[in-house]
């Protein structure tokens, strides 16, 4: 046999083998005829059934948790081509282009998932159709969150990331590797826009500071802000200063507890680069925290609780489990820099719960907050649930009748934020397990009805099965943050900063204080 003949035969064999391999490995479309009807919906994970989804969300890939050797899912709506996915594994990965097209054509319509499962040599089983709804309103395109491990007082890697919700792209805004492993948190945006951002930094090498990003410029303010809220004008930002103490539970499922030994609010004025406070929210007999502005800039809402202990050295303090915050507000005239009188919106005495994390919807209609049994850190309390207050009704009647949203679970819900169109809420939930916080979205209609929340989709639907990250403080923003990590890192490492001085003494950390190596910075999630 000549050499050429041998080569030719080898090539043919290789091509044939490749063809056979491709045929066996790649899923082929098959006609599904004559299936057995199973009168229940298929168990899928994540649970993307009976939800309202935004028309610009990435495909909701999921796993079919039914025994089988072959799977088929048909996704369809009123208009457009059906999407059919065949798979030998229970992982269903929806093609992005077809998904986007289907959503685009069917805003306001229902979307159906037909799930078929086949065992080897058996008939296909067809489960009840899963029905979802595509909302008219889009969700903001980007989600910014901090990704950390659920640690306690030590940390290694952490970062603030942004995720494009239309696909699965995640990019880094800043991580602590840029400045030698410190801490970063409390990323805050002005009116869901990345053009004005604040981000808190703590570093044993470079000190504590606040990064102020305005469009593509960034500066460092020589003090760290706690929980922060931008005034809608973008001219000032209000923040809390908290003296936080971490303690432990002997037997609760949540190992950690957090109390504020002391706290107050202050505000940073961008033009004058000064920090001020007011007696309205820096009362030494009270703990003030979680500021948030109304979208018209007329009111500052925040949480306030009485200090219940005289001995500040015993930790945890006596009555730490009796601390309950009221929801209050104070009016503000930005042009005169004048504060009005304090007004209680909702009292802890009435609810017998502590009221935390108020966030007003951008249209000014709703106030979303959480309540739990006691304390100041709802993410550590399984009892923390989301509540909604109709501010229009409140303004009319002067009475707040909060409604507990039925989207809550028996685990902590907290760290909620609004989309810029006030239709979508993003929040952190531990409903999947007691340790790892995940991000969920829920649609809120005009009547204030919240729809079943759904988990932030991932390209690999089994991602969360072995995800050791906690997704903390999800914030919806309309556009991506443009400033790079290297730019921010350089500013942190640099010596230039805006020096500020807080005109009050309390449990205030000094600006630029470099905590000792053994001092622990708390408030992890």
């Amino acid at each position: 046999m000549g050499r050429n003949t041998i080569i030719f035969i080898c090539i043919v064999l290789v091509v044939l083998s490749a063809g056979i391999l491709a045929y066996t490995l790649f899923d082929r479309k098959v006609a599904i005829e004559d299936c057995i009807s199973i009168e229940r919906p298929a168990a899928i994970y994540p649970d993307y059934s009976d939800i309202v989804l935004p028309p610009n969300i990435a495909p909701l890939n999921f796993v079919v948790r039914e025994d089988g050797s072959r799977y088929c899912v048909k996704i369809y709506s009123k208009q457009g081509e059906n999407i059919k996915i065949f798979s030998r594994s229970p992982k269903i990965v929806v093609p992005q282009k077809q998904w986007r097209q289907l959503l685009k054509l069917n805003r306001g319509e229902e979307m159906y998932f037909d799930v078929f499962v086949q065992m080897e040599k058996e008939k296909w089983k067809r489960f009840d159709t899963i029905t979802n709804k595509i909302a008219h309103e889009k969700i903001d395109n980007f989600l910014v969150y901090r990704r950390i491990h659920p640690g306690y007082s030590t940390w290694s890697k952490m970062g603030v990331y942004q995720r494009n919700l239309q696909n699965y792209d995640e990019s880094l805004i800043l991580d602590n590797g840029y400045y030698g492993n410190g801490c970063l948190n409390c990323h805050t945006f002005c009116q869901n826009q990345p053009g004005k951002m604040l981000l808190g930094i703590r570093s044993s090498i470079y000190g504590s500071s606040e990064l102020l990003v305005e469009d593509d410029k960034a500066e460092k303010i020589g003090t760290k802000f706690g929980y922060t809220s931008w005034h809608p004008s973008g001219r000032l930002a209000t923040y809390s200063i908290n003296k936080i103490h971490l303690f432990f539970h002997s037997a609760k499922n949540e190992v950690r507890g957090v109390t504020d030994l002391d706290s107050l609010l202050a505000y940073y004025i961008l033009d004058s680069k000064t920090v001020k406070t007011s007696s309205k929210f820096s009362n030494k007999q009270r703990l003030e925290t979680y500021p948030t502005w109304s979208p018209d800039g007329r009111y500052l809402y925040f949480c306030s609780a009485p200090v219940l202990w005289s001995d500040r050295d015993t930790l945890p303090q006596e009555n730490y489990d009796q601390v309950r915050y009221d929801l209050v507000r104070v009016s503000y005239d930005i042009d005169r820099d004048e504060w009005g009188e304090l007004e209680t919106v909702l009292s802890a005495e009435d609810t017998n719960l502590t009221i935390l994390l108020p966030r007003v919807s951008p249209d000014g209609r709703w106030l979303l907050f959480c309540m739990c049994d006691y304390g100041s850190f709802p993410v550590y309390h399984d009892t923390s649930d989301l509540y909604l207050l109709d501010l229009t009704a409140f303004e009319k009647t002067g009475r707040a009748g909060p409604q507990r949203l039925h989207i809550n679970s028996n685990k902590s819900e907290s760290w909620h934020s609004w989309s810029s169109n006030s239709r979508w809420m993003a929040f952190s939930s531990k409903r999947q397990n007691g340790v790892f916080t995940r991000t969920y979205f829920s649609y809120l209609d005009n009547e204030g009805r919240a729809y079943k929340p759904f988990l932030l989709p991932q390209k690999d639907p089994t991602y969360y099965d072995s995800c050791l990250w906690t997704y903390s403080v999800p914030e919806l923003v309309a556009e991506p943050v443009q400033v790079t990590g290297e730019t921010l890192g350089r500013i942190i490492r640099g010596s230039e900063k805006i020096s500020v001085h807080l005109p009050i003494t309390m449990a205030t950390p000094k600006p630029d204080a470099v905590p000792g190596s053994r001092q622990k910075w708390y408030e992890r999630e």
Binding site: F247, H249, S250
Partner: protein
């Protein structure tokens, strides 16, 4: 013509090779391997003992791999992470480490020959000797050494390509840049060694300053462009990742240990070239200034004659040369090992390793050799408990009240060493706290994931446990354990058939309260309140009272002996009772038990011996230690224990 494969041809081939050098090197590496395998035992480095904080995590699957490919140095880091896992199996880990050392040696040898300095080839043994020291000290720098190895391979590749033909030499700069980009992507900041080395070579040995400048410039431009602009890493990481100068190594004291050895490995070749190059320049300058006079040259030749004669004879005597050089090499290696050997450190690692695997007799055997440190004694007490000897033998070892819960100031953050103890005694939340801190410090190491899964299963947080098990199922050696539990959880989420989990559930505290720090006595009391059958809590309570001399509380808890079916008092409890009887002069309720005559006799003899020395406690110590060095009586008087063995050697 001599036919092929004739004896003469073979002889010619044999003498053309340095057979002696080959044998010497082989022996060196065989001993290197055996030492790492049998003496150092790289399984201990894999385990880490809570001392090695930068041992890498490795998980199977694309998601883990994809984290590495998008940044410079990621490929070497991934490969090194995988190879490091092989330390789990002692002999394979030793083989990997030996291969790494050998390859570095080969590369150094090749490079020095390529730059025409074969006489300096003995330098090739410096890196492996340094590695011996690094491993003997139980430190871990495998990743950065791997980056060095890859860089050295490229350092050898470059002259290898150039030398193939003079035409290729014309394109040396292009080759250099191409290799630079590839190397930088593979090995990150270690690439700078490549650029620096060839820059020095070009300047000092070839005199081509413009190429020198270009190479230096590439060392700045390539990391910036590829690292910062393309891959988006920070500028600091772009220039330092994977090198021993990285802040990720220097920031932490634990990872800085023995880093000077790694610096030496990295800087050895550039320093050599620098010295050689400067020496050449010096010689050239010196030669130009000297006037070449024949008489002087003859005189010079005459005055050095004896030495050159000796040297010439030595050079011709291959056998002697081989012997002397081998002696020097092995002598330096052995000396380095002996000087860096730290029995205390090894004991710490061994004890921790055995304790994690619950090989309690091994813990006790190892601790016997060297039991002075608190962490070792802490592990010994756990081993004594688990082998039912805590109330019999604890004072045969050095004891201190801080060894029970490892509460000394230096061990305040030794979470690694404590979590298993907390799990065993029923303090699940404290265990979870410590494990979570360990997770942050050491990463998703399998030993931590395993315990986190266990704790969550005990606490009933099955969903969280599944996540830890999910990650664990992607590790190389613990996947089976994880999969077994994942299957069990599917079949029986309550884990009713798992005895250990059910037992731990029965022990754990169920009454919740907030605390910042715990009081030992308090927490032991709570554990016993939660479950009277918590034997560990009971024995530790009694040990605590004995060590802190609270014998009134000790005797008050004697009724608990009934909960554990003690027919008679353990020896050390008898001694404590006798001391209390002597002190309080009041009868003590032993709940139907009697003191043995042996204990009474021992107490009598101890008292008599002690009284003979009057008030001079110090004078009595030797005699008392000999007869009673392992008793509570001795500890009660002297506040230290474990003296019997010492006394026997006096």
């Amino acid at each position: 013509m001599v036919p092929k494969n004739s004896k003469i041809e073979v002889r010619k081939w044999v003498y053309g090779r340095d057979i002696g050098g080959f044998i010497r090197t082989s022996i060196f590496y065989i001993l290197f391997y055996l030492y790492l395998w049998l003496v150092v035992d790289l399984r201990l480095i894999y385990h880490g003992a809570g001392e090695i904080i930068d041992f890498p995590v490795f998980l199977r699957g694309w998601p883990f791999f994809s984290e590495f490919i998008s940044r410079p140095g990621g490929m070497v880091e991934y490969t090194a992470a995988f190879l490091s896992q092989l330390f789990y199996i002692g002999w394979i880990g030793a083989l990997v480490a030996t291969l790494q050392a050998w390859l570095i040696c080969v590369c150094v040898d090749y490079f020095l020959k390529a730059v025409n300095y074969p006489r300096l080839c003995w330098l090739r043994f410096i890196p492996p000797i340094l590695l011996l020291i690094v491993y003997t000290q139980y430190t871990y720098h495998f990743v950065t050494v791997m980056a060095l190895l890859v860089t050295l391979l490229f350092i050898c590749l470059f002259p290898g390509i150039i030398k193939k033909s003079s035409q290729l030499d014309r394109f040396r700069v292009i080759f250099f840049l191409v290799l630079s980009v590839i190397l930088y992507y593979l090995a990150g900041g270690a690439y700078l060694l490549f650029a620096l080395l060839f820059a020095i070579y070009e300047l000092l040995l070839r005199g081509r300053w413009w190429i020198f400048l270009l190479y230096l410039l590439s060392a700045i431009v390539i990391p910036y462009v590829v690292g910062v602009m393309v891959c988006g890493v920070s500028v600091i990481d772009a220039f330092s990742d994977l090198s021993p100068f990285s802040w990720k190594i220097l920031y932490y004291e634990a990872s800085r240990k023995m880093i000077k050895g790694v610096y030496l490995m990295y800087l050895m070749l550039p320093m050599t070239l620098l010295i050689v190059g400067l020496w050449r320049i010096f010689l050239k300058v010196a030669a130009k200034r000297k006037s070449a006079r024949e008489g002087d040259a003859k005189l010079v030749t005459k005055s050095y004659k004896p030495w050159t004669k000796i040297f010439s004879w030595y050079s011709r005597n291959n056998g002697l040369k081989w012997f002397v050089e081998s002696l020097i090499l092995y002598g330096i290696a052995v000396g380095a090992v002996l000087l860096s050997y730290d029995i205390e450190k090894k004991t710490l690692f061994l004890v921790d390793y055995y304790a994690y695997d619950r090989k309690w007799t091994h813990v006790l055997q190892t601790a016997r050799q060297h039991s002075d440190s608190f962490p070792v004694m802490y592990a010994v007490n756990r081993a004594l408990y688990h082998t039912h000897k805590l109330n019999l033998d604890m004072f045969s070892y050095p004891q201190h009240s801080d060894t029970l819960f490892l509460t000394i100031k230096e061990s305040r953050f030794d979470y690694w060493k404590k979590f298993d103890f907390y799990i065993d005694i029923g303090l699940m939340n404290i265990a979870q706290n410590d494990l979570t801190e360990c997770f942050e410090v050491f990463g998703a190491r399998p030993m931590i994931l395993k315990r986190l899964a266990l704790v969550n299963m005990v606490k009933g947080d099955i969903d969280s446990a599944r996540i830890y098990l999910g990650v664990l199922s992607k590790t190389l050696f613990d996947a089976d354990w994880a999969n077994k539990y994942l299957e069990l959880l599917n079949a029986d989420p309550n884990l009713a058939t798992d005895d250990r989990i059910q037992h731990l559930r029965s022990l754990m505290l169920k009454t919740d309260y907030g605390f910042s720090a715990f009081d030992i006595e308090d927490i032991l009391s709570q554990l016993l309140q939660e479950n009277r059958q918590n034997r560990m809590a009971f024995e530790y309570t009694m040990a605590w009272y004995m060590m802190t001399r609270q014998l009134d509380k000790f005797v008050r808890n004697l009724d608990r002996l009934d909960d554990f079916g003690y027919i008679r008092l353990p020896r050390l409890y008898e001694e404590a009772v006798l001391v209390q009887l002597y002190r309080a002069r009041k009868p003590i309720n032993l709940f139907g038990r009697q003191l043995t005559s042996e204990s009474k006799q021992r107490f009598e003899m101890f008292s008599q011996t002690y009284k003979r020395y009057g008030t001079n406690k110090k004078a009595a110590v030797k005699e008392l230690a000999k007869g009673f060095g392992d008793t509570y009586l001795f500890y009660y008087i002297y506040d230290f224990s474990g003296m019997k063995k010492w006394a026997e050697t006096q």
